[in-house]
């Protein structure tokens, strides 16, 4: 029971209360902005912008102090293990967030839409919208005036046209990037910093290409396919699932960008690089979500 037997407790910190204040600004800003949407004299969006400044600023200093404490050797192996558990359970909570949206998609496809189409022995719902036919992707909604549906779906085309299908390239990008980040970590563990930096840049490039292609896909959906958030349940589930996934890719890309910049600045050693490892787990997590998403949103 030598060094590991003494406990480390950080002294009191101003960071959490600043973060709480940032979240207060965020909730007020977001709520007022949404409720006053379209009103010209609303200033609520400034509140929202201020909240981002407070939240990002706090995170900068908070993580900064953690890095400093770690560099000065204050952290024991036990504390580092706490960070590992913390990150793992955080990713589990993210998995469950996506689970809610997958659950919604599954329920809609297996039950809600078929029932609207008259399936089931006691179905009466097709009295409301006579002639509605259940289909997936649902391009013609029950109430086509309120929810105009879409002209085309995002589903997988014939194999010969696969190269024109954006999700194909997106999948390629993300899966490859999971490999490149593993190579970057392996390089770092072996002490090969050149390989580490190179593979990090490759990972980031692939990540940003993914975000760009996803943006392109949304642009296509809105301008040429009539597929919008308001198009009905197909557009709803498509945009919310890919949108939240894309948002998490962006977060992951930001995390990895910071890790890369720190790496170029000489941070991380072959045995002490939890920030990078955590970012890498997060990246693998968005990759796995994407594979599930491709299967249930685009292919089947």
């Amino acid at each position: 029971m030598s060094s590991d037997s003494s406990y480390y407790v950080p002294a009191s910190s101003r960071m959490p209360i600043f973060m709480a204040f940032g979240l207060l600004l965020f909730v007020l800003g977001a709520s007022f902005t949404m409720n006053n949407w379209g009103e010209e004299d609303s200033n609520a969006h400034w509140l929202l912008i201020a909240s981002f400044a407070v939240i990002w600023g706090t995170m900068f200093f908070w993580f900064g102090s953690v890095i400093k404490e770690n560099d000065s050797g204050m952290y024991s192996g036990q504390l580092n293990q706490s960070f590992v558990w913390g990150m793992a359970w955080f990713i589990f909570s993210e998995v469950m967030f996506f689970f809610a949206f997958f659950l919604a998609l599954g329920y809609v496809r297996l039950f809600a839409v078929p029932w609207l189409g008259g399936e089931g022995e006691k179905a009466i719902t097709n009295i409301l919208w006579p002639g509605f036919e259940a289909a997936w992707p649902l391009l013609v909604t029950p109430d086509n005036e309120q929810f105009p549906g879409a002209h085309h779906s995002m589903s997988i085309p014939a194999v010969s046209k696969l190269h024109t299908w954006l999700p194909f390239w997106n999948t390629l990008c993300l899966i490859t990037s999971s490999g490149t980040i593993a190579l970057a970590e392996a390089g770092l563990r072996k002490g090969n910093r050149t390989a580490f930096k190179l593979w990090m840049v490759a990972t980031l490039t692939l990540g940003y290409v993914f975000v760009f292609l996803q943006g392109l896909e949304y642009y296509e959906a809105y301008t040429h396919m009539g597929l919008t958030l308001g198009a009905g349940i197909y557009g709803t589930t498509f945009f919310l699932l890919t949108g939240f996934h894309g948002f998490h890719v962006c977060l992951g890309a930001i995390i990895l960008t910071i890790m890369t910049i720190r790496g170029f600045g000489g941070a991380f050693s072959d045995h002490d690089h939890f920030g990078l490892a955590a970012g890498s787990w997060y990246w693998h997590f968005v990759d796995v979500v994407w594979i599930l998403l491709v299967l249930v949103v685009y292919i089947f």
Partner: protein, 535 residues
């Protein structure tokens, strides 16, 4: 900036900061635990005041005091505050105070995150309560906020409600990550999982449930937000969605949530019963397996809340039988508590009184739960006061009594002073009598068909309702007495010993440290031997 505590010498120099900054910037699990507990006590009185308004309105049939619109806001916010603002934060407060002390840890694993988890709670509830003063009034769609009542027909303040639920969820998730990490990583050497105190076990499983289902709730309110502001059609049949989808997602969160509010109570009651029976808990490992089974089953029973919504018969049957399965592990726990007391040297201090009342009255709530689980019978009970009676029996003489018991049980360890035993017993008997007066007659009016959530009722329910209201007012006053007892204990209590309770000797590390517990409990891990040698 920070300090390494590696000797007793440092310990004494590292006491609490002075003034407000102590509470704003603290990373100490005891400070944060106290803030959680005071916060939930304040919320108890706010949510309780709303219950008083509800009972005053229902004192007699007809429209009495408040408008039906305001009544809806009262019912909604009473539920939200009691669930998310009282029971949950109070258990987190106990977890903060007791888990590090029970497992021999210096503090929680992630102390700064711990501070953040607490301080965003007042943010969330400040925003929720501020909606009372906004145009359109506070949320009025019930604590279960079913779509489309909470989407198409909701007041504009629903946006604030949605974000405040997000913040409450974030607080719970961060708090749970912290608790689960503490338990997995900070136990004293030699404390294997199956040697952990039962309160720690119950929180371990509760934290897992919270991390698993709070994100699902976040997903549900996000879908509401999109339906309201972005034109999506999750809960709109016209676009191919389904309002029933909301209920499925909500109750997928909601049923584990119900157990989140009771599992830590099981841990607390186990400790109290073993202490005042002067025996080790009967069937320790079966207690652990029972908690785990209840937690796992809670993921596959959610649709018993929606038997009348229009489900395929196979669904009704599946959810009926899976629900009834939960009676088995719950029964194991109840019989284990009884067996612990059997042939024990019982004494009946206030914590024990509350704990015994918990076992008896929680069982009443559990039995009415089995009645509700019977799908064909539920068609009669659904949305009546019978349901209100059922969940109040598990939440008030269940969860809340366990919290009061825990407060009496551990307050000498926190403050170093004893509470007034006579007043504590008065508080118990007042609470016990009034809680039954309040909630037992609800079974009768419910079975007779009185619907819940309605500000008026038919004449034949008048007598019972008046009795319920009298009981509710009495219960409200009794809790003011609790506040007085706590304050009297802090300012004017007699000094408590290290052991505090005669039967507590070998029941956990918390009884080996001074009363009051020092600001930093352990500077190095205590050994399991110190626990045994004192017994």
């Amino acid at each position: 900036m920070s300090a390494v505590i590696d000797s007793h010498h440092d310990d004494h120099h590292h006491g609490p900061a002075k003034g407000l900054s102590r509470w704003l910037y603290t990373t100490n699990h005891k400070d944060i635990g106290s803030m959680y507990l005071w916060f939930s006590l304040v919320m108890l009185f706010i949510g309780g005041a709303m219950a008083m308004v509800i009972r005053a309105e229902l004192f007699e049939p007809g429209s009495q005091i408040v408008s039906p619109e305001f009544y809806n806001q009262m019912v909604t916010n009473h539920g939200l505050i009691m669930v998310f603002g009282v029971i949950m934060p109070a258990f987190v407060g106990f977890a903060n105070w007791m888990i590090p002390m029970q497992i021999g840890a210096p503090d929680m694993a992630l102390p700064r995150l711990n501070n953040l988890s607490f301080w965003i709670l007042p943010v969330a509830f400040g925003i929720l309560l501020s909606t009372f003063f906004m145009e359109g009034g506070a949320p009025n769609f019930g604590w279960t906020f079913y779509a489309p009542l909470s989407t198409e027909y909701a007041p504009p303040t629903v946006t604030f409600f949605i974000f405040s639920v997000h913040i409450m969820g974030a607080s719970s998730i961060m708090g749970s990550i912290n608790i689960i990490t503490t338990i997995l990583n900070m136990r004293a050497p030699g404390m294997t999982l199956m040697k952990m105190p039962l309160f720690v076990w119950s929180w371990f499983i509760t934290a897992y449930l919270l991390i698993a289902v709070m994100p699902v709730l976040a997903g549900a309110v996000t879908m509401m937000l999109m339906d309201i502001h972005a034109g999506t059609s999750f809960f709109k049949a016209g676009g191919g969605g389904d309002p029933v989808l909301f209920q499925h997602i909500f109750w997928f969160f909601g049923h584990p949530e119900v157990y989140i509010m009771i599992l830590p109570a099981f841990g607390i009651v186990s400790h109290i019963i073993e202490t005042f029976s002067r025996k080790p808990i009967f069937g320790y490992s079966s207690m652990v397996y029972a908690i785990a089974s209840i937690a796992l089953l809670s993921f596959v029973v959610w649709a018993h809340h929606m038997f009348t919504v229009g489900m395929p018969i196979a669904g009704e049957l599946f959810f009926m039988y899976s629900t009834m399965l939960i009676a088995i592990p719950t029964g194991v726990k109840v019989f284990n508590w009884l067996s612990t007391m059997f042939k024990g040297s019982l004494t009946f201090e206030t914590p024990m009184l509350f704990a015994i009342a918990f076992v008896a009255l929680f069982t009443i709530g559990g039995l009415s739960g089995i009645m509700l689980a019977i799908a064909p019978a539920d068609f009669q009970y659904h949305d009546t006061y019978f349901v209100v009676a059922h969940f109040h029996y598990v939440l008030v003489p269940g969860a809340l009594f366990s919290l009061l018991a825990a407060a009496y049980y551990w307050i000498p360890k926190w403050t170093g002073k004893m509470y007034d035993e006579t007043l504590g017993k008065v508080h118990f008997w007042m609470s016990f009598i009034s809680v039954n007066l309040t909630f037992f007659p609800m079974h009768f009016v419910g079975l007779a068909g009185m619907p819940r959530r309605i500000p008026d009722y038919a004449m034949q329910f008048a007598d019972w309702n008046m009795m319920v209201s009298v009981g509710a007012f009495l219960f409200g006053i009794s809790q003011l007495l609790f506040l007085f007892i706590v304050l009297k204990c802090i300012y004017n209590g007699k000094a408590a010993t290290t052991e505090v309770w005669e039967g507590a000797k070998d029941k956990g590390f918390e009884w080996t440290v001074d009363s009051p517990a020092p600001y930093h409990t352990f500077s190095s891990p205590p050994s399991m031997e110190s626990l045994k040698s004192s017994s």
